[in-house]
């Protein structure tokens, strides 16, 4: 069953050969994440690196253990487990106990990818499955945020990181609210420059709009992601939140809605996962619009301040359906029956 170098091409005909392999695509995304990792350690110090490392270790170790007995052999080289771990790590709060980040990485790979049959078989974005699992399992720890300490505290570690395995953090850390939390529960807006630069509380990778955009532009230029999905998410989210803002000025302006929370990060790094998003161009538009609208719906009317994670997971579930509906029609034939 070992067929090294064989690739499954997920595009309708005509097919062209290109140099894009799984490890190459993964490497591109890792490069795009580098500025975010640096930014996260700038704002949250050593804690950011530790959480990232723990999540990645959980993912990689799980992948390694399970591929010991798998027929297709070792699958660490394709870097996808590393990437999933990093993506998960960037969506975690900086003060999360490291053992939880590790569990999250293991859940991402185990529940999100391997039980479906490995890379390419999973219906849901693995990193987000891991995050949803963590949010369900440890709701308090996953919604405790720290204010960015700035470079002054670079060597400081948030005490709650160091909780012993299976134990709660014993020291109550100083917690702070995210821009979306401030908006939802205290009706208080965060100034746009802070949102752009990342001077806010939040998940490791979601705070700085500029750095995320930088990675997104790189990926789009390298054609590692389908730009249609990203554009569709951002466009529909701004239109929908704009409408809501017109109806009720308490709702944030579109620009603030775009740059707060994980919307930008999700649109660029999570929604565009080639395994769980539609491959047809029209499908990509539908998929992206669905995510944008759902995310804003959950933010505005749901119990959670942020909705991008569930929006992406929900739309992941509809991907097979979207692909069937948007199947290109062969020239000269009628519509395929569904």
């Amino acid at each position: 069953m070992k067929s090294k170098g064989a690739r499954l091409i997920l595009q309708p005909a005509p097919l062209l050969r290109s140099g894009l392999t799984t490890p190459a695509a993964m490497r591109d995304v890792v490069y795009a994440l580098v500025p975010l990792v640096i930014g996260a350690s700038w704002w949250f110090g050593l804690s950011a690196l530790l959480v990232l490392l723990a999540a990645t270790a959980g993912a990689v170790i799980t992948e390694w253990i399970f591929s010991l007995g798998a027929a297709r052999g070792q699958s660490l080289q394709d870097l996808s487990a590393t990437l999933t771990g990093m993506l998960l790590g960037l969506t975690l709060p900086p003060g999360l106990p490291l053992w939880m980040a590790f569990v999250g990485g293991a859940a991402s790979i185990g529940l999100g990818k391997l039980i479906w049959g490995g890379l390419g078989q999973n219906p849901f974005n693995p990193a987000l499955v891991g995050r949803a699992f963590l949010l369900g399992a440890f709701p308090t720890a996953m919604t405790t945020w720290q204010a960015p300490s700035g470079p002054a505290g670079f060597l400081g570690i948030i005490p709650s990181n160091l909780a012993l395995p299976l134990q709660q953090p014993t020291v109550d850390a100083l917690s702070s609210a995210t821009p979306l939390g401030l908006m939802k529960f205290q009706n208080q807006e965060t100034p746009l420059p802070d949102l752009m630069l990342g001077h806010t509380a939040g998940c490791l990778g979601e705070t700085s709009g500029l750095l995320i955009l930088l990675g997104g532009v790189y990926l789009a230029l390298r054609r590692s992601i389908d730009w249609r999905i990203t554009v569709a998410v951002l466009f529909s989210a701004s239109v929908f939140s704009g409408l809501l803002h017109l109806f009720d000025a308490d709702n944030p302006q579109p620009i603030v809605a775009l740059f707060s929370g994980g919307l930008l990060f999700g649109a660029i790094f999570m929604a565009t996962d080639p395994v769980t998003s539609p491959v047809t161009p029209r499908g990509a538009w539908i998929f992206g619009i669905g995510i944008g609208v759902l995310a804003i719906l959950i933010r505005t009317f749901g119990g959670y301040p942020e909705g991008i994670m569930y929006a992406i997971l929900l739309m992941n579930a509809t991907t097979p359906l979207i692909e069937r509906v948007t199947q290109p029609r062969p020239f000269g034939r009628g519509r395929p029956t569904l």
Partner: protein, 219 residues
Amino acid sequence: MSRDGQNRRAYQELVKGLWRENPVFVQVLGMCPMLAVSNSAINALTMGLATFTVLLSSSLMVSSLRNLIPRQVRISCYIIVIATFVTVIDFVLLALVPDVHKELGAFIPLIVANCMILGRQEAFAAKHPVGLAAADAAGMGGGFALALFGLGGFREVLGSGSLFGVSLFGAHFEPWVIMLLPPGGFISLGLLLLVLNWVRSRRTQRSEDLVTAQGNPSR
């Protein structure tokens, strides 16, 4: 059939429900109580024992009356028998363990709707003598109770850090809330099925290897 043969037959009927034809892990029956009340070991155990008792008593009753019940109304009769035992068990639990009864709530009356119980009446008790029917019911009921208890224990250990209310990891244990919620039920049941099917397929594989090896000495 010799007496010894009868005993062996009864033994086979008893153990098949525990493993080879386990109602939960192989037949995947009775999922509603399985997922709903397995959030702690004591709930799961009570539910398992209640189901076990209902199944055993109903099987005994149906098997001993099997020649008196006309074919056309057999299902109605089985349901009456099962519902009677369920109602009695409901009262008994309410009298003896009111706290657990409160937790189990509507799921005790719903034992009536557990397709495993009706299935055993129709598939086995109605066609076999009392002894065999009892062995079959005890095996199936036991298999169900064991599976339920295993799942309940697993979910309680992770979800509350305790087993039967006894704390395992100290006062600062961080509970895995998701394990107590419905998604945790689905995830744990799925994982348990995964592990057991893996073990089962390994065993089959090994015995097949053995057969081929014996049949083909050149290997």
